[in-house]
Structures are given as structure tokens and as C-alpha cells.
Symmetry: C2
Subunit: 507 residues, 2 copies
Amino acid sequence: MPSRFGLLTFRAVFDTASIAHEIDKATWKKEEPKLRQALLAAQYRVLSEKKFPVLVLIGGVEGAGKGETVNLLHGWMDPRHIITHAFDAPSEDERARPAMWRFWERLPPKGRIGVFFGAWHSQPIVESALGHIDKAEVDQRVAEVNRFEKMLSDEGVLLVKFWFHLTKKQQRKRIEALAADKHTRWRVGENERSLFKKYDAFADASEHFVRSTSTGWAPWYVVNGAEARYRSLTVGKTLLASIDDRLANGAAPTSSTNAPPLLAPIDGRNVIRALDLKQKLDDERYELQLEKWQGRLNLLSRDEKFKKVSVVCVFEGNDAAGKGGAIRRITAAIDARFIRPIPIAAPTEEERAQPYLWRFWRHLPRHGRVAIFDRSWYGRVLVERVEGYATEAAWMRAYQEINDFEEELLQGGCVLSKFWLAITKEEQFKRFKDRERTPFKRFKITDDDWRNRKKWDDYERAVCDMIDRTSTEEAPWTLVEANDKNFARVKVLKTLVRAVEERFDTL
Amino acid sequence: MPSRFGLLTFRAVFDTASIAHEIDKATWKKEEPKLRQALLAAQYRVLSEKKFPVLVLIGGVEGAGKGETVNLLHGWMDPRHIITHAFDAPSEDERARPAMWRFWERLPPKGRIGVFFGAWHSQPIVESALGHIDKAEVDQRVAEVNRFEKMLSDEGVLLVKFWFHLTKKQQRKRIEALAADKHTRWRVGENERSLFKKYDAFADASEHFVRSTSTGWAPWYVVNGAEARYRSLTVGKTLLASIDDRLANGAAPTSSTNAPPLLAPIDGRNVIRALDLKQKLDDERYELQLEKWQGRLNLLSRDEKFKKVSVVCVFEGNDAAGKGGAIRRITAAIDARFIRPIPIAAPTEEERAQPYLWRFWRHLPRHGRVAIFDRSWYGRVLVERVEGYATEAAWMRAYQEINDFEEELLQGGCVLSKFWLAITKEEQFKRFKDRERTPFKRFKITDDDWRNRKKWDDYERAVCDMIDRTSTEEAPWTLVEANDKNFARVKVLKTLVRAVEERFDTL
């Protein structure tokens, strides 16, 4: 049922929803208890299987019964396992981070039902209705929303989106009724009245946005909100059908990635092998350069402009390539209160119950702060790909998801620097052996490291593909020749300093 | 070494720390590399054993090298596993919750080192130096801090507290030196100069607070900050000794609780058995009462005053006593956007790496919101006690910890209502059987429930002790006779409404 309904609304969004519907009391009395019991049973199956979360998005016009419907869902199901959140204007903490951060923060984990009021759809619709953004920008927002919801859907989130509609006449009647009743009068303020005056502009903006974001993987269900029994049964039955369908059939196979197939290497040359790993910096010049670039970084971190950006560094590289040492040369240059290194290890239980990128979103720094990821979201297209922890479909689509994620960061005021530290296979052998011999370094070398080493070529292939697909103009990879630690550390610092300076120039 | 040092400073806090110390360059060059390597090794043992977190508190006067020392610790150890946080004025989100919330939010998990700048000590010292709070209030804050740190220590947190001291003369010299250097001039603003004018008041307030919060389980190490090498070596060595001591000897056995021993029941009578579980409400009166109290609750939730408080309800009770049903009668009365039920299950991996109360702190609502805990922090003195999941020392000290925690909530503007839902053993048997017979209720009954039932008397004993020790005047338990569901639900609603109304009267 949901899919048919979805297709129908896709074609004639608001016209269909303007048709007057009414459910009589007798039908309601017969249907409601059955629906309630079925919804509760479905909720408990979701909860006990813990295979996927359900995310219900609620949008639409004022007075169309959004709040009432959600309260009803709470009454029908077990409210202890529903996480509801209303998004108003972003708070101080939220404004200091990329725009999507507050939604990620509140995603329901597997097994739970989340209800979001006014999520990522609200802002674009309001801005477009008020004429603050033009058609091109609207289209860009639409594309972003669609890619984001595709990602959630691919990650297993069951998205059920309801849009509550009222015709202009119905809305006027509703507002008058609310204002006439002393118990509900408080709900009709200046704000509601002035929004109503812009009904047509909002209807146009909404219709366009709802139509364009009604996708195969996350269709909108447009519900006429004028009549409570009809509205409630429609929402309840659609949600039930969506959950039951997922429980019975599992997720639709994730569409194969849109990315073109990866090229097979032909001549044995690639970006990694093309690096000149013989580059060196002697100790004397190193000390001078280190001081110079650390000094500049320190000055930048105390600049007034620094309060308007955040800095995110990503460190990836061969095992023993010197990530830790390079990171320490950055942290040494910045007041420890403002910089946080984030070592990425295996995901925790709470992280495994969320979409892949959740565990990186949660660590994003606010403006004026620096986060250094020691390993990162690229794990999916590196170790998870090579070791087979992620399916091919999952890591293939990760390239696009990662590019979208990084675009979010950039839009949110991040300076993003990504480093791949490369060493030769011989140099790695030397360093492994050295670690085994030195007592306080021994913890740094494990059987895993030796095992990974045997897959050197597979990793190299994965690295080249990664750089190919995620080195964008705005978020390029910096390949760091790291056989010589001095050279690598200075290159990292210099690159980071220049990236921050470039961003400052635009402020 | 740390304990001796701790005792010394305990006696003559700032006098001792005023003695001029100097470490010459040669000594530094000899000592520093050894210290560095030992600290790194210690850090990695903490990290790999994951048995306890280390929390370093940094306090003291301006210009005494606090920031420099922390930067040095980051340089000496692996900064990727250090979590540093500076607490400034609380943010919007933080102000809307109990004062300690922001510290709990950032506690390092087991295996990690946390560094807190200006944690829970700052505010009381500043307020007392500026004369905003009197001696009695200072003493109360001291007692709160000591109990809080005792709890952290009992929970296995290794607390290492450094106070950076400068004599008046040293501070003047330091400020002048900073102001004279163009690289550091920015650090001396109006704020620093005006603070310096109040040196004596701050010194008095600090000395008193530092002396009174230097306890056996969490002593302050007072360090003269005038000379960098001395200061750095002292801090580094003290931290190293503290960590090594813990690694070698484990935590000191938690002192037995200060609470008097629990009384053995003599005559078989207790608060639970004294309840009149025959109380009933027929359906007709129930409907009327339900509407009345839900209506009142709804009105309260829309009152302007509601924005200044948060509401926390705790539901505990016999299995099948009807907690879920009672909770639904509350959620039905309040806009779903403002109320969140929080079902407490077994702790997650991230929660197990933190002190016991952490997993409740993280769910505390902001002002204007309601949180309903379905089972709660009382698990420690109920199921964990009876099933032997917690040691006797742990659950015995939990009474005091819970009382302290709830006092925090009350001070932070919470209305706190705690309900124990009681049914008879016979009624429970009936409800278990009913659950087994009803398809969509079957998930609610497990082998665990039948097992718990066999320990009915042990649980009853635990409940009576709990009520005895945690039913305080400000946060009393409400015992709810729940053999009749109608009666129980109305009693819960009525109690909650009155608690909110009483709080409103004080606003």
C-alpha cells in the first residue's frame, strides 16, 4: 500500500490531498483498536529484532493536525521506545557546527522509532517561500536532501515522511476555530496569522519541494489534515504498512552506485607509485622549518577570524607511516584547550546501531576548535573494503556519501585537510622491526599489522581509488612522502597553515 | 610520593608553594626524557588495560603556567588519547540543566586521560572571592564537591588535582613580563589586570577552598608556577607516580559507607506490607478523574512557568505492576515534543566505561521538558543488589550518591517525582499468566520475570531499605497501590500535578 500511495501523490501532490475525506464514527470505532494493536505489535518486533530504525518525518502547514497525530502515535504505540524531537531555531551549540549536525545527533538507533518535526525540509521551504533563495539554490537543496535521504535509506533507516496539507479555505476555518475556543486560543498568535497571509507562497514552495523530494526510497505521503479520523487512520495505516513491509521483505537491495566502474590499473603506474619518497629534510633545516610553521599555525589559531571557522584534519596512511608523530607536531602548536585528536578505532555498540557516518558527526568540532582524526570515515573504502567488512555496494556508494559529508563540513565553515602518509614497503619493514625491539613502542605493533602488510597491493589499489574519487577541488587529498619523518611533518604543517590562511582570505 | 606530597600541602597549602624553586638546565636535560618516556608508557598501560580513567584537574591563578603545563602533557604523552576541556561560562544548553551536567558530559571513559581546566572548583572560589556567597554557603559547596569527588573516586576514577600558585610579587612580575612581549601581550587584558587587583581576596578564597577539598581520596597538589622547569617536572612526576601507583596497587578499597547499618526487619511489618492494596476506582469515576488530572497536567505544561523548570519522573515497581500504562497516561497529557520516556535497560559499552550515574545524567531534560525514567538509578540498590551484580560496598554507598544526585537535580530546577508501584504476589501471578496468553503481550514476559519472582522477599527487603534511605523531604517516594490499575494511574497523575503546582507556587 505505501508504494502505490506514494506514486499517486507523486503525480498530483496537493490536488489529491485537497479532496475532502471523512471517516464516520462507526468505522473509526471498528478500525482504530485493530490498528492500534497491530502498530504496537509491529513496534515490538522492530524493537526486539534491532535490525533497523524507523524515522518518521512530519511536515506541513499549521493547524493540519501534526502535533495531534504524533500524540496519537505515542498513545497507540509504546511511547517509551519512541524518540520525538521538534527542531526549532538552532541553538548556540548547533549554530557553531555544520547544519546537519543537530539531525545526526538525534537519529534513532536500530530498534527505535524516531519522530522528527520540521527536520531538514523546513528551512529550504521557508527560505524559498519568503524569497530568500532562488530557484537554483532550491534545486541544490533538493539534491542535497535527496542524497542525504538516499544515504539513510541505504544504511537501513526506514524513512516514512508525512506531509499534512490543508486547502486555503480549510486553513482559515481551522484558525478561526482554534481562536474561538478558549482552550486552544493560545495556539493562534501573530506568527500563525502572518504565516497564513503568505499561504500561496508557502503552498507553491512546499509543493515544489515535496514533489522534488518524493523519491523511490523515501516518498512523501501527503495527507489532508482537515478531518481528524481520516488523517489519523491514514497515517497509522501507512506507517504500519511501511513497517510490516520492511519486516517481511527486508530493505530493498541498495541500488548499485551511480559511480562509473573503477578503472583497472594497466601500466602499473599510479599516484602512489609516482611519489618521490626519497625526499628528505636534514635535522638542522627541519628544526628551523618546524619552528617557522608551528609559529605561523599558532598565530593563526589566535587570530580573531579563527572563531568563525573550525578545522578538521584527516590522517590516513600506511601502518607505521608516522601519523602519530605528525599529529603531535600540530597539537604542539595550538593551545591544548582548543584542539582535540580523535583516534578512530572499531565502532562501539552505540555506534554500530547508527548509520556509518554517525560516529564521525558526533565528534565534529564547533567554530574556533580543531579536530584531528587519526584514521577516519575513509576506513570504509580502505580497511573495510580490503578486509571485506563492508559489502561492495556499501563501499562503492561510500565515495559519494563521503563527498556529500565533506561538502557539509565545508559549507558549515570547516577548513578540511586530508593527508595520506605514504612510505615504501621496505621502510615499513624497518619500522615494524624497530617497534618490536623498543620496549615502549612494542604496544604499537600487533599481528594485525603484519597481516595487513601481506595485502600491500590491495591496499594500494584501494588508496588510489579513494584519492581518485574523493580528491575534490574543495577537499583535496595531500599525499605526503613520509619515508623521511622530518620531511613529512613539515609538509603536513605547511599544507595545513596554507589551507587556514586561504580560508582566512575569504573572510 | 603523591600521598606524602599531598599530606604536606594539606597542612600549609600556599606557604609551602611560595618557596622559590629552581631546576637548572642540566638537571632538566637529564630528567625530562626519562619522565617523558615513563609517562608515555604509563599512558599506554592505562589505555590498553581500560580499567580506569584518569582525570587531571587544573586550577590556580592567572599566569602560573596552567596552559603551558597542559600543552607539555600533550607533548609528552600521546595527545590522541587525552581529552582536554576548558570550562568557561556555561552555554545556553548547559544553563538549562543542573549545574554538574556539563562536567558529566565530558568525563573521560576508562582507559583515557581527561584534563579539565576550571572545573567544579572555579565557580565557588570566584563567588566567594567576590563576596557573592557567605561562609555557610562556601562550606556547603565544599561538602558537595567532596562528596562528588568521593563518588568519582569510589567509581574508580583516578583524580589528580593540580593547583598552580604564584605569590603576589610573582604574579605582578609575570603580568609585566607578558605585557612587555609583543607575542604574549594579547594575554593581558582588562580582565587579567582587574583580577590581579583582587589578588588577596582570591588568595584567601582559594586557600580555604583548596584546603577544604584536599581529601584523602583526591588531594590537591599545590605547585609554585613561577619557574617553568620546576613546575613541569613536579606536575609530570606527580602524575606519573599517581598513575603508576594505581597500576601497581589498584584502587584503594572503597571506604565502607558512612551510612548506619540497615535494620533487620523484626515484626514482619514494613512500608510495603502496610499498603492497602485493595483500593479501587470504578471505570466511571476513573474516566472522570483521568480527564480532570490529565487536563490539569496539560494546562501546567503550557504555563509560562513551565519554561523555568524541568520535570523528572522515576518509575520503579514490581514486575507487571503497570509502569508502562501509568507512563502512557502521563505522556498522553503532554505534547509529545516536550516529553521523553527513557526506558533503562542494561548499560551499553560506552556506559559501562563511565561512573554508574553517567548514563542517567546524559538523559537529563532541559528546562521546559519532561523526562520519564522507566526504571532508573535505583537499579543499583534493587536488582543489582539482589542479584549480586553490584558489590555490597557499591550498593551501600549508592544511597548517599543517589541522594546527592537528586539534590543536584532539585537545585537545577527539576521537579522530581518518584513512584514505587506495588502489587501483591497473587496479582503478579495473574498478570504474568495473562501476558503469556495474549499474543501481543507475550514479549513482555520472560524467564527472568519468573526467576525474579522467586526472590520476592529479597526484593521487598531491598525496596524497604531504598525507601528508608532515599525518601527525603524534598524528593519523597510515592508508594502507589497498583493492584487496581485505575486507582494507580490516577494517584500517579494527581501526585505529579501537585508536585508541579507546588513548585510553580515558589516561582
